[in-house]
Symmetry: C2
Subunit: 544 residues, 2 copies
């Protein structure tokens, strides 16, 4: 091949090539809008000048305590200013932020600390007893820093832990923070929920965090100075990168220790909140708040929801309460949301039912995701765009994780064939929007036919007595597998197994009707997701 | 050094690393919003499905005519659908887009064609005679494609040229377009205006175009489905990357062959335009339109201006006419605007004069520009933030060009010391906003003191008789240099040299008063910039 003339004498130099990193967003916000309010937390209002100064102090103090590139700093914090500072201060000293889900148990926390090789742990006083337990179980012996949030007045403390604010105060507000050597350097590690069994340490890099942080603002038209309420846990995929998005648009974070309706409505009314995120359960909480908590709002508020499709009834009541709901979908492995239900203006003229049907679809790729498709995992060929043929949802692009920490085998498997295999099963509608149908591990294969556990659950949900339904595979002598349903009933309702199976027979193909229906409490993960693997184990024991 | 555990088994793969390119924005817009109007041009309304299909057809047809990675395709087109198609179709076959300023003369066009090694030329019928002349002068013999825009009814044609629409029709709408092999690959080449003498071929890459295209939307809060009016020539730094920005937000391009007030006001009123760009002269045109052309608008329109600071009187009248004006600054070498006068909400409460003073400052870095500063070019140290000490404006980051084509020496000089040297002189105000004071080549050094030509011009502009003023250095026996002013008077005004020098004496330090004031027409480049190098030559001949 002859040389491309556009490659000669036109090499990368520090003048025209710098690693992408979201950390620079904070530096810019602080230099352009130093007096703009960056963080609201109870009585505290902190501007960008101070937010940036404190992040640098934290970085400097962590460096002084020996943190170097590639060291892990674990944070077990509520949605507080300290957690925001960690999203900048930890990577600013070159370390990798490991956020811990505050609802986990001590054994899993200990597992994570060991697996992530935590060198320092920053813990909110409220979670100190739990962390104490975890540290007793763990092999690593990280230095412990304790954050005493003035908004928390309950019990808890770790003896001899260094105080977070004293640590920050010891740092240099002019610290020359470390730009990553390469945009591929790790910025954070987040363990998956463990819904499918084994939590894996998802490693994110600066490039992806930069792109998804911008992608949030671009995909959802977030304007400069938007005000964001923290109803989504920041420990969940780094709060879907919103801690970085807000600096990019010089917005305001409104912190929230606990997701309760009263402080949410207060913040909506008094802080001028424009955006918030959460699972559908957060919408239920907002919408079912007592009348005296609800407030009239002088603007439409944008609610981004993920984790599950938003149900029709919720969409209608949220709309009436003044919220525009956007449905997002993603995984820890994709930095949070990487798929968006892009709304078409003319869809708003359709019936509420039709709108809900369209909005239940997960949608299309985020701008910074290069490719999204549903492929047959055997052939790696795209499924037909018929809204019916199931395949595995796959992602390709710059907002796919670096890989699983210390797990090259799982990494290779997840990224094989040039695509990230999500483990979610779905279809593609004729207009190119994808819709999830199940997780691959949850599909039931009966006599060679795939049964979507979600389809069976939907049939059960249509019965008024059913509050929660979860369907898993149960071994079957003849068919290999058959569906087994677990059901929680609505308060005051009663129904027997036979009647409910009859109901299913009226609403499903015969081979999809559950072989057993069990009425019992359904086990969930700390993020509220149903633990189907636990149900599968139970189903195996009751198989006929 | 011990190994960083976050670098082990976590390599780049096609699943998690793809070259950044703005071409994907069009693919996404076409797949998500196929029926949304992408382009309006006279009677034509083209949706995203067709825009994307035509771009792929163009790419396929160019590939069929032999275009390979690194080949140059030159385009001399007005702001038409064809020019938008070229911004996608040319790089989609791996070629590099060379946009030609339609106001240049044949000799310079020939120089550019030769220097860029043009293989194919796409030319609007209106500019065909000029292109014919240029081709006669040039050494290269590119294939010629002629675009016959139905909105153009005047004379002009090249005999035997292939028809653009026939070329597109011959291409494959399903063409598997070429993703760049590396995001560092060239996407376009643009020659500088030649204001300072020698036009240089600025090479841009996919990474920078991706980032600046997003940066336009992010920095200026452009929402989804914005409607953009093409008052800025697309041949100027690829229309500041807006041809790509609009696809990122699935917006609508409103094309415009000629910048005249009547079609501008018509588009503003009838097409729902939300954004437009241009030099201050475009604002004058809009604001001074005859009353019968002006229309009432049902929304505020965003006007982004660059090339020169917006004058106070224009800001006031634009505000009254319904426009929010944002001041941008950049160079061909920075993909268009890379600096923005970020407006603070509370500045809007200040007096009109104070607001104009604040808005005249060029401002702060764009989000995708990593660093912006004013340095002493000798020591490479930042100047004090005092609003007075001059230095050279320098840029560092991912939206700085790849370099100058076939000019490694100029490239190395421009990018030396890890910064891009803009050749613009400026100061940094205490709040970190930069303000341009002059071009380094235009500064006058008198008795060892630097005199800003802009400061002397400002004093002249304050006199009611002065329409245009340009000040350059004139050789002086004693002082080395002294200012020489060239002035165009307002219609019906008359003033003599002595009176105007007395005026300057009242408004300037004595050594800054022009040694000569010449009343004459001032030479300009094709983009309307004053050619100071030509004036300097003249000043040398009239030196006392
Ligand atoms: N909008 C949505 N609709 C339906 N399901 C969703 C949606 N958003 C996310 N999900 C589900 O959540 C999953 C991502 O969750 P997360 O990464 O937090 O952990 P997890 O997958 O539940 O845990 P693990 O990977 O350990 O099993 C997706 O794979 C998908 O199954
Ligand atoms: N907002 C602005 N205020 C003042 N000057 C500006 C502004 N925006 C751009 N400029 C001037 O325009 C220059 C960039 O123009 P461009 O890259 O189109 O070509 P040029 O610099 O005029 O040509 P050449 O490099 O060949 O001399 C900047 O260097 C600056 O001098
Ligand atoms: Mg998962
Ligand atoms: Mg220049």
């Amino acid at each position: 091949m002859t040389g491309n003339p556009y490659d000669i004498g036109l090499e990368r130099t520090p003048a025209n090539h710098q690693p992408l990193t979201p950390l620079g967003f904070l530096e810019r916000a602080a230099s352009v809008f130093p007096d703009h309010t960056a963080i609201v937390h109870g009585a505290l209002r902190r501007n960008y000048r101070d937010f940036y100064a404190r992040a640098r102090q934290l970085a400097s103090a962590l460096a002084a305590r020996g943190m170097r590139r590639g060291d892990t700093v674990s944070a077990m914090l509520a949605n507080t200013p300290a957690m925001l500072e960690c999203h900048y201060g930890v990577p600013m000293c070159g370390a990798v932020l490991h956020s811990i889900n505050t609802r986990l148990d001590a054994a899993i926390i200990a597992f994570q600390l060991d697996h992530a090789m935590a060198k320092i742990v920053i813990v909110d006083r409220e979670f100190a007893p739990l962390m104490n337990e975890a540290l007793a179980l763990a092999e690593v012996t990280p230095q412990v820093i304790q954050y005493d949030d003035p908004e928390y007045t309950g019990p808890g403390a770790i003896d001899g832990a260094e105080d977070y604010d004293a640590l920050v105060a010891s740092g240099d507000p002019e610290f020359a923070w470390l730009v990553p050597e390469d945009e591929w350097d790790a910025i954070s590690i987040n363990y998956t929920s463990g819904t499918t069994g084994d939590p894996k340490g998802v490693v994110s890099h600066h490039r992806g965090a930069y792109l998804l942080a911008q992608g949030n603002a671009l995909t959802t038209s977030m304007a400069k100075h938007s005000v964001y309420l923290w109803t989504l846990p920041m420990f969940h995929c780094n709060g879907w990168c919103f801690p970085w998005t807000l600096s990019a648009i010089a917005g305001t974070h409104v912190c929230l220790r606990q997701v309760r309706s009263e402080p949410i409505w207060r913040a909506l009314a008094e802080e001028g909140v424009t955006h918030l995120c959460g699972a559908p359960i957060v919408m239920s909480l907002i919408e079912s708040a007592p009348a005296e908590e609800k407030r009239a709002l002088d603007r439409r508020v944008q609610f981004f929801t993920a984790a599950a499709p938003p149900p029709e009834s919720l969409l209608a009541s949220m709309d009436a309460a003044g919220f525009d709901v956007t449905h997002l979908y993603g995984l820890t492995e994709t930095y949070g949301p990487a798929v968006v239900n892009e709304w078409h203006g003319d869809w708003s003229d359709l019936s509420a039912g039709e709108q809900a049907r369209l909005k239940a679809r997960q949608g299309v790729r985020y701008l910074p995701l290069e490719q999204l498709d549903v492929l047959d995992p055997e052939t790696m060929q795209p499924v037909p765009r018929d809204g019916e043929t199931m395949g595995e949802v796959m992602f390709r692009g710059n907002v796919v994780m670096k890989g699983y920490f210390r797990n090259p085998e799982a990494t290779q498997k997840a990224l094989s064939g040039g695509w990230f295999h999500s483990g979610d099963l779905g279809v593609v509608h004729p207009d190119g929007y994808i819709q999830l149908k199940d997780r691959s591990k949850d599909v039931i294969i009966s006599g060679g036919e795939n049964i979507s556990s979600i389809e069976v659950e939907e049939a059960l949900y249509r019965h008024a007595a059913v509050a929660v339904a979860a369907v898993v595979a149960m071994p079957h002598e003849k068919w290999g597998e058959t569906p087994c349903a677990f059901v929680e009933l609505n308060a005051g309702q009663d129904i027997d197994e036979t009647t409910l199976r009859m109901w299913c027979r009226d609403h499903l193909a015969p081979y999809k009707v559950p072989g057993r229906i069990v009425f019992d409490t359904i086990p969930r993960t700390s993020t509220g997701k149903i633990q189907k693997f636990a149900l599968r184990e139970r189903a195996a024991t009751i198989a006929p």
